[in-house]
Each structure stands twice: as C-alpha cells, then as structure tokens.
Amino acid sequence: MTRRFPGYDVLDKRTTLSWNAPTRRAIDRRLAVHPGPRFFSAKEWVTLRALCARIIPQPADRPPVPLAAYVDEKMFLDKTDGYRFAGMLPQGAAWKAALAALDAAARDYHGCRFSELSASDQDALLTRMQKGDLAGPLWQGMPSDLFFSKRVLHDITSAYYAHPTAWSEMGWAGPASPRGFVRLDKDRRDPWEAAEAYPGEEAKAYRENKHVV
C-alpha cells in the first residue's frame, strides 16, 4: 500500500503545544498496554489474534498495533460501554462464547481451527457471522450478527483508531490541546497537520511531514 501521508508521525508532536499533560499521560498509558492475555485463555487468545488480523489487516513494514491486547485489557478491566442488548451476554462472557463458537464453525466447515484457515476462508466465515448465519448452542442465544457489529467491530476498531499508528496512517492531526487550529477553510492546512502526498508531490509531502511541530 503506498503511503498517503509519507513521513507523518503524529507522535512527533508529543512535546508540542498540541499535547497537554493529560493527553501525554493517556497516550503513554495506551502505548504501554499489557501484552496479554490476562482475561482470555491461551486457546481463545490464538483465535482472537487471528480474528483481529482480519478485521484490521496491518502492513508488515511497521510494528503492529496489538489489537488483541487491547480487547483483552478491556475485558480484564471490565470496562463496559454502558449498555447491553437484552439478548446479549455480558461482554466478557460474550467474547468467550463467540470465540468458542467461531472455532467450532471453522471445524464444522473446514475441519480445523479458525486460526489455521486461509485468510479468504477466515473472511468467508466472518461474513457469515456478520450476516447472522452462524448459530448453535455455543452462541448461547446471541445473534451472531449482533455480536459481530457490537463486539467484534466495536471493540477491535475502537482499539485501532485509538492508536497513534492509525492516526498517522489516516493523516489525522490528532490531539490539539491547547493549541487547536487556525486554518479552517477547505484545502488549508496548519503546519502542524499532516500533508497528503498527491501524485508527483510525494517528496514535498514527506518534507512537510517531517516538520509537523
């Protein structure tokens, strides 16, 4: 994948006026996530990691955002979202049930664990989950589509897009306390925002992105 914001790293602004002390504390804590697993079993952990790799495929040329670790931490600390659909298990129990059910489905269709499937077979199985087509006693009455949208997509994408690596990849300016922004019109960029590499201007974007302070 060609990089759209070459050279941009939102962490370069960590000591600038765009990051106040509470922001630095919060992001430092996030980057120091416990590697896990503390909540999931070793077996569940393997399945969860395989699942995360399909929901957010990550390039090999940078350290991956440890998505499974964030899901594990959220369940371990029991950080709840503030609601639960009447048909769903509490979040930790829901994850454990669904990971077992996903492995069982992989075994039913392919005779092996989810983590051992090819990427395309994994995606096909996840598409069935997304459509609500997976069912059985292991789901304990949970609709698989609801689990997919409210737990799989919610927990994993919320972890990824809370990470500076993802912010850099999407060219988001990131934290902005207390400096904020000055240029609000279209096609106007403050010097502390990411520059996009338009065709033929990659070097210029790279140069500008090395000076986002």
């Binding site: 609601y83 897009y161 990849e169 902005a176 306390s177 904020g180």
Partner: protein, 551 residues
C-alpha cells in the same frame, strides 16, 4: 501543579473539607460552604447538569440553602481533560443498562454524562430555541401533548440562558419570531460548515452559523475557542460554556454545596407523603441528607429510575407516579446522517462539529408527517468515524482501512429530529443490580411510524443537498439517536402528567423534577438550552411560591 491536583478524580471526592475544585486554575480550589447531613436544607438536588446545575445556581443566588449531589467526579478541565476520544469516555455514564426494542438505544455515550456538570461537559454546544408552536403541539399542530407553558414566557428565559452562556451566534436568525442578536459574534465557519451552506443554497433553503455555547471572544476566565474539535469529549481550555464552567462556580460562590461521587439510591418520604431527603452513597457508605425539598435532575433514564426505585408502602408504584407515567413516553431524537467525500481537503475535525445549521424543515409544514427536524455540519473523530463506517456500511478489513485514509476528504450532515411520545417507549427497573445493589434500568425503544416517515424525509433531503453541493460516494447512517426526554412529563392535569408547569410533582408537593424528563414533546432541536431555560423559570417560580408561603 501539585501532585494532589492530578490525583484521580474518581478515587475520592474533591469537593470536601470546605473547598471545591477551581475549574479555571490547575490544582486550584475555591471555598465552599458545607451542610451537615442532619441539617434539613431547603433543597437537595440530585444531578448537576443542564437542569440541576442551573437550578442549584439560581436557588442559591436567591438565598435558599442548597446541596447538589452528582454521581460523577468533579473535573478540572485544565488538569484532567485529554485530547482523546478513548480517555474522555470517563465523562460518560457507562454503568450497565439493558436495552431492547426495534430501535434499541445505544447508551453510555453522547446521550448521557456522569460528572459534575452532567452531559453539558461533553455536549456539542448547539443552543437552539424551540419553535413557538411546539409548546402547544397538540392544539396548534395536532400531535403529541401541549406544554403547560406559554412560548412568550419561554422566549424571555431563552434570552436569559443565552446571555448566561454567552452564546456565539448570528446577528439575525432566519426562522421564527424576532429574537435579539446573539451575545457573542458567530464563530468562523469551517470547510464542513461551508458544504452545508452550499447544499442548502442549491436547494433554496436558508442556513445560518450555529448558535454555540463556546465563546468567540474572552468571557470572564474563559478564553476564546481555539477550534480543537474535541468538543464532544470535554473542552480542555474552558471555552465551552458547560454547566461545570458556568453554573457550578456561581452556585458555589452563592453558598451551594456540591457533592461529587455521591450516588443517590432512594428518595425518602414520610407518613404525610412528603419527601424528607435522599439516601446517597459516598466514600463507601450510605448516608442520608435531610431536606425540605428534593429535586430529581438525573435526565430521562436516571430520573425515572430513582423515582421508581424509591417506591414504598405509601407509593407502591414509585414516587410521583399516580398517573402511571413515570418512565413512560421516553423520547430520543433521530440523529441520522448522510456522508460522502470530495476532492478537496475538508479536515472536518477542526472547529466545533456543527458550525452551520438549517432549521428549514422545523418551520416548513408541507410534509405528510408530524414534527420537524434540523440538520447540521459534522466532524466525527476517528473512532466515531470508524463506527459509522462499520455500523452503516458494514465495512471491515482492507476496505475499512482504505476508507479511513480518506478521512480528510470526508464531509456530511446530521439531523436532530422530533420523535413522537409513545407510552411503549419506556424506562423500567431490571432484575439485575449494580454495584450499589440498586436495580439497573431496562430501556425499551422503537421508532413510531411517524418517526420513520420523518427520518426517511430527512435522509432524502440531506442526500439531495449533499449531492447538490457536489459530494460524491454518498451513504446514509440510518440508525443513530441522541438526547433524551419525556419520562416525567409536565402538564396541567395530574392524570396525564407527572409534574406541573413549575416542575413540581403533583403527588408530592415538595418533590420536583428538573431536567429533560419533563418535556412533553422534544421538538426538532437539541434540548440543552430549553432544559436550562426551564430551570431558570423553575427557580423564579420557587422564589415566587416561597414568598407566598406556598412552598
């Protein structure tokens, strides 16, 4: 900054020992009057948001003794607020709730707050007046229920609220009866707001800079807005005119006591059927604050929950519930959106999320359904934008990652619409209990047929306007809702309402409700300014009643 200042505000109460946090100074304190639990104060208020915070301030300024309790912490924005979506979920009410129904409500986010200042700490600051006819929706427009208050009286309280909050807005407002110019000049319009304007003009609709509760010039200790764009996750500079920054410091200065991390579990009543105070949990133990009047201001889920779980022998169905309407007629507001992208860089997360707005369809009645709606500019931050991509388009994998990289080119508009009151939409108590041993809320919600017609109309109109503005790759966010109301409605008949026009419970005359729960209808605009206007009116009415010896 002392280490005490950055101490976790969740760990132990900050408002104690005769002082409260100074929200304007890192590590700062202001003196605070304190009352003993066994001292019957004039008013104990449960909740310190748009309703409770405003009322606590005005009652204290009128000379009443006031203790206001909040289940959440007492933040100092300068010390405690990060520029971060995840960290700032600490502003939300994330205790467990069970949700159900065809269009079950997503709780724990934007529609609820748990902090001194309530959800105004993270609201988007959009400060609009109701259309006058909505106060008599049943009589003049043929739907919902009438409010027991005249719009002309509300017009005066809206003005008071706008001045107290230094609302930044246009010189002249395009819709409704004449109103004075807003106290502070309008904010500059960001690129996302300009796209709304372009779309409206292509369709021949009026639009305006949004009246916002964040200052465009210095005001007291509030500096002007710096356009960070994290408004919905707490303002770390104090430009936002939240209850935490506006009403609470005034309340404390006037002698009110604020108690943070104080969860109220029960309102007590005596043999005469009058309220005597509240049982609350603070610092690991249950305590009882005596009071001559109790005000419940926990918003439309926690307010009915508290009234219902205070049931006793005299009031077996819960307090103030002889009408059977406590918890019923829950309303949220349709919050659907249309999104797409353009070749230009919009970078919509700069500036408040909604710098422009159109109320066209709140004032044009050529529609085949009841109620109205407005729409406004948008600027979701990455996690919310990802949730829209996964929730509305079902994207994941490479498709999601690719789409997210187009973030700086994304643009969209979002409605705030009027849902109809319906007794089937309700808050009840679940079997499950929380960490205090209190029953949690069970929330049942489905759009009515009218709501669905309104949503379809709005989505069509929003899509037309975005297309006319040249936005490509349009898609609809078809399921979203925001704001609450209706579960302790006001009225002029005790059989069909919970409180009267003064927010005073029909059944228990020293029990009051002061938050969005009292709304008989929610209108097609964000509710915070109306909640504050009602609280200002309630304070004046209480003063008048006290003078006449009718309290």
């Amino acid at each position: 900054m002392s280490s005490e200042a950055v101490r976790d505000p969740f760990e132990a109460p900050r408002a104690a020992q005769g002082r409260a946090p100074d929200v304007f100074a890192p590590g700062g304190w202001v003196p605070m009057r304190e009352y003993r639990d066994d001292e019957a104060v004039d008013f104990v208020i449960v909740g310190t948001g748009a309703g409770g915070g405003t009322l606590a301030c005005r009652l204290a300024e009128k000379g009443f003794s006031v203790v206001a309790l909040d289940a959440g912490p007492f933040f100092r924005p300068l010390d405690d607020f990060a520029s971060d979506e995840t960290e700032q979920t600490k502003l939300y009410w994330t205790d467990q709730r069970i949700v159900e129904g065809n269009d079950w409500m997503t709780m724990g986010g934007k529609n609820s707050g748990k902090a001194v200042g309530g959800s105004t700490v993270h609201f988007a600051m959009v400060s609009l007046r109701f259309r006058p006819d909505w106060f008599k929706a049943r009589t003049t427009l043929g739907y919902g229920a009438d409010w027991p208050i005249d719009w002309r009286e509300m017009w005066g309280y809206y003005r008071q609220a706008e001045e107290a909050l230094s609302i930044s807005g246009p010189v002249s407002y395009p819709w409704g009866p004449k109103r004075p110019r807003y106290p502070y000049r309008a904010h500059p319009i960001n690129a996302a707001g300009m796209m709304l304007a372009k779309g409206c003009e292509a369709l021949g609709m009026a639009w305006t800079p949004t009246p916002l509760a964040t200052v465009s010039a210095p005001r007291g200790k509030s500096p002007p807005c710096v356009y960070r764009g994290f408004c919905r996750f707490g303002c770390s500079t104090n430009a936002k005119q939240s209850a935490l920054v506006v009403w609470i410091p005034r309340a404390i200065a006037a002698g009110a006591e604020i108690r943070d991390l104080a969860m109220v579990g029960r309102v007590e009543t005596n043999q005469a059927g009058l309220a005597t105070g509240v049982h609350y949990h603070r610092e690991d133990r249950w305590r009882f604050q005596r009071a001559r009047n109790v005000v419940v201001a926990g918003y439309a889920v926690e307010t009915p929950r508290l009234l219902l779980m205070s049931a006793n022998d005299l009031f077996p169905d819960g307090l103030a519930n002889s009408s059977g309407l406590v918890g019923k007629n829950l309303m949220t507001q349709p919050n659907q959106a249309v999104f797409g992208d353009v070749a230009e860089e919009i970078r919509w997360s700069k500036a408040p999320p909604s710098t422009t707005i159109t109320e066209h369809w709140n004032y044009d009645d050529r529609k085949d359904f009841h109620g109205g709606y407005c729409w406004m500019g948008q600027g979701p931050l990455p996690i919310e934008w990802a949730s829209i991509q996964t929730g509305s388009r079902g994207l994941w994998g490479d498709a999601l990652v690719r789409e997210m990289q187009n973030y700086n080119h994304a643009v969209g508009i979002k409605m705030v619409g009027e849902a109809m009151p319906d007794e089937n939409n309700r808050v009840t108590l679940a079997e499950e209990t929380d960490r205090y041993g209190l029953p949690i809320s069970h929330i049942h919600y489905s759009w009515t047929a009218n709501d669905r017609a309104l949503i379809d109309h709005a989505l069509d109109q929003m899509e037309q306007s975005m297309r006319a503005a040249g936005v490509k790759n349009l898609f609809r966010q078809e399921q979203d809702a925001n704001h609450l109301g209706g579960t302790a409605r006001m009225g002029d008949d005790p059989r069909t309402s919970v409180v009267d026009a003064d927010c005073r419970a029909w059944d228990i005359r020293n029990l009051w409700v002061c938050d969005g729960s009292v709304f008989p209808t929610v209108g097609g605009v964000n509710p915070s300014l109306t909640i504050q206007a009602i609280a200002l009116r309630t304070a004046d009415r209480i003063e008048a009643l006290a003078r006449r010896g009718e309290l």
